[in-house]
């Protein structure tokens, strides 16, 4: 995002709206710190500027800066998945897609959330740790998948590492018996990450909204607990277009 200096009246109204804290006064006018700006578009979308001084950066869709927008603006659609938000569907449509089956479990590592953001080099710390643990492949219908330079090492494309985004989700599916080991890997790499990440675990339920004891036991044994609130797919979806199923 940029603020046209010749138009800005220096009222400062836009400043508190920036989730990255990237807007501040430079003299009597507001200015966007281009390194901190995540291109989320919030300052423009809320229409807070009384004189229309805020506009998109002219190079917002140029690679590699474009990843800032795709990973930070919930209204932008990821070119690789065609999905807005963080470009993932994880458990949301599992009742029709069956992505996570009854003997597996999904993990989502939401790097940068909540609200902190990070450089994509922080994501690489985690993808490398996962690769060392034998996770060479993450969910294909996830924008991070297209950012891998080498799945064997977990290296991301080097030109992306300096880009700052609000959050990105590493998504993987595991056999349930691998969950304990991967949780220990995640716990270890958490000490190296110069940001925060939310950890999600999604799985098929037993009848009556019962979390399978095998998974619940693994999570607690690994030293994690789950929050009392969760996202629950009600199982009301159906498949209408079988000819298009992958």
């Amino acid at each position: 995002m940029i603020i046209q200096r010749e138009v800005c009246v220096g009222c400062g109204r836009c400043q508190p709206f920036c989730p990255a804290g990237a807007i501040s006064f430079a003299g009597l006018k507001s200015e966007v710190d281009q390194d901190r700006c995540l291109e989320c578009g919030t300052c423009l979308r809320v229409g807070v500027c009384p004189v229309g001084a805020i506009e998109e950066h002219p190079h917002v869709f140029d690679y590699p800066r474009a990843v800032r927008k795709f990973f930070s603006d919930p209204c932008a659609y990821h070119p690789s998945t065609g999905i807005a938000g963080r470009g993932t569907e994880e458990s949301k449509t599992n009742d029709v897609t069956g992505r996570v089956g009854p003997s597996s479990v999904g993990l989502a590592i939401e790097v940068g959330r909540p609200t902190v953001g990070m450089k994509l080099s922080e994501v690489q710390k985690i993808t490398r740790a996962l690769a060392r643990a034998g996770i060479k492949e993450i969910e294909a219908n996830n924008p991070i998948h297209s950012m891998y330079a080498d799945p064997e090492t977990g290296d991301l494309k080097p030109e992306l590492l300096g880009e700052r985004v609000l959050s990105a989700i590493i998504e993987l599916e595991l056999p349930r018996d691998r969950l304990a080991y991967i949780l220990s890997v995640v716990k270890e790499v958490a000490r190296e990450v110069d940001s925060v990440f939310c950890l999600d675990c999604y799985l098929r339920l037993e009848p009556g909204l019962v979390i399978p004891a095998e998974v619940a036991g693994t999570i607690t044994a690994a030293g994690f607990t789950w929050r009392p609130n969760a996202k629950i797919n009600l199982g009301l979806g159906r498949v209408f277009e079988p000819e298009e199923r992958p």
Partner: protein
């Protein structure tokens, strides 16, 4: 992902806060889903959510748009996101949606125990759960927990801690009432699940104890 499983706050407060999501799936029930999703959103409107957005318009319930504009914008593949401040209203909505049997994935985000009770009463058998195993990493750089009660209500982290601080200052100093301050906090949330009723309660609760260091 709308991050709703990571909403923070007391159990009492979270008990008045439940999101409902409508998701068609590419390659499974995407093509031709427009009329079904439009009907689902009509049913949701009847239930009385406190906020709602469809992905084809991205304007929340407090923006100057009509329901007809929202419904008219819905096309194949549209997603809908909304939040209820009353679980009884959500339950009534789910009863209607189950009866309508429109075949699009519905996801509820809320307290697990409450959703379990509700599902049993309605006769639903939930399929998949996404559990939050908490925040990891350098947690010392997070905004304070009292502010995170607000900021985590926006699924994509668009409500900045500084905006919440400003709202608290405005309420504390009498420059803004809690409700308009909450509606203002809804503005940046592009996923429509920021709960302005809960936000208003939190502002009323926190403003008296919030120290104003600048106006």
């Amino acid at each position: 992902m709308t991050h709703s499983l990571h909403r923070e706050g007391s159990l009492d407060s979270l008990g008045r806060d439940a999101c409902l999501f409508v998701y068609p799936a590419r390659g499974f029930n995407y093509h031709g889903s427009g009329p079904r999703i439009r009907r689902i959103v009509e049913i949701i409107y009847q239930g009385g959510p406190v906020n709602l957005i469809v992905s084809t318009l991205r304007e929340n319930m407090y923006a100057p748009i009509t329901r007809e504009q929202v419904l008219g914008s819905i096309s194949d593949g549209a997603k809908a996101y909304c939040v209820f401040d009353d679980l009884a209203k959500l339950k009534e909505t789910l009863v209607r949606l189950k009866k309508a049997d429109l075949g699009i994935s519905l996801v509820v985000s809320g307290l697990i125990d409450r959703v379990r009770e509700m599902a049993a009463e309605i006769g639903l058998d939930p399929h998949t759960i996404n559990l939050s195993l908490g925040i990891q990493g350098k947690t010392e750089i997070l905004p304070p927990a009292d502010l995170r009660q607000f900021t985590t209500m926006c699924g994509h982290g668009m409500v900045s801690p500084n905006l919440v601080r400003q709202a608290l200052r405005q309420v504390k100093t009498g420059r803004l009432e809690p409700w308009p301050a909450s509606v203002r906090l809804c503005g940046p949330c592009a996923c429509g699940i920021y709960n302005p009723k809960r936000s208003m309660e939190l502002l009323e609760e926190l403003a008296p104890v919030y120290a104003v260091t600048r106006l």
